[in-house]
Point group: C2
Chain length 188, copies 2
């Protein structure tokens, strides 16, 4: 006796494989440890405001994983901040990360809800007062005081849904709410 | 009568022009608005987990400014997160930004204190539980629960000083403490 099975057709929406997304959610429901991810970067200082971050390995689905290739990112400061402008500066990297995360979160969650998205554009602006970093005023924080975001979206999702979905972003949550950061220092 | 003036010799330490750093601090003391900076990014979604952030203009020292060139950053998700791995993912960009910022803040503040630094290397690892992003558990946050940082530093600064200086980093503050994020959405 032979049995013929046909693979179910995969649903792709917004470029997201919704069939695999549903399978991932089901698998995590059965084995919660699959959901634990660890992301990493390492950094090597060059000189002044110039340094280089490398991202290659991460941990997820209960195993060590590697990106297809290492991603190397140069950070520097513009001349006005005494650098040589060989890369975006670190606070700009944070806005880039926020932008990527809110965009992807919208595309993925909309796909999961059956909403087709045609285009997503967004702009980010954040305020930093150097009185904080330069120790000129103890009442001024060194980081972003406020970040403003503007989305332009073409697709099925209405404004309220978009406002809801972009706030599910991990980087949005990382910035909007405090994160515990542990620091070890070794003199070499 | 002629007057001969000699420019004071500039002090460069850790690649940081300490003479200009002191002049910047003095100028901000006299005109506090010089310290107000606005950093920016914009993002264009491609498809699925792939999108592109661009950083070019910013505002500071009471004027609009441009980087020497636009910095373009591709973000994507690895295959296990249903992307095509065309770039670091957004939460990895945040670690890259944190790494660049803590490194630069250490180099600059050490320079200001007369401490010579020979090398700075650092590693970052952050925990994300997908139960948050995937709406599987309302008690799990979508962003980083904890970030661990390890510094290896060669130079004059002692461990306690390094621990103090890296925490002055604007991205450290941005992550460790909540940031107000305003979001506008326009359907196009």
């Amino acid at each position: 006796m032979t049995t013929t099975t046909t693979a179910p057709k995969e649903i792709i929406r917004n470029g997201v494989n919704v069939t695999k997304l549903a399978a991932t959610i089901k698998a995590i429901g059965q084995q919660p440890k699959l959901a634990q991810f660890k992301f990493r970067a390492r950094n090597q200082w060059d000189i002044g405001g110039h340094n280089q971050a490398t991202v290659d390995s991460f941990y997820g689905t209960c195993q060590e994983m590697e990106h297809k290739q290492p991603f190397v990112m140069d950070a520097d400061e513009p001349t006005v901040l005494l650098g040589e402008d060989n890369g975006a500066n670190p606070v700009e990297f944070v806005l880039a990360g926020l932008s990527g995360c809110m965009t992807t979160t919208l595309a993925y969650h909309a796909a999961g809800r059956g909403l087709n998205i045609e285009s997503i554009e967004s702009e980010y602006e954040g305020d930093i007062d150097l009185h904080g970093l330069l120790d000129l005023d103890p009442n001024v924080r060194s980081g972003y005081r406020e970040i403003r975001v503007k989305f332009k979206v073409k697709g099925d999702a209405d404004e309220a849904t978009i406002q809801e979905l972009v706030r599910k972003s991990p980087v949005y949550d990382t910035l909007a709410n405090p994160v515990k950061i542990r620091i070890e220092v070794e003199k070499v």
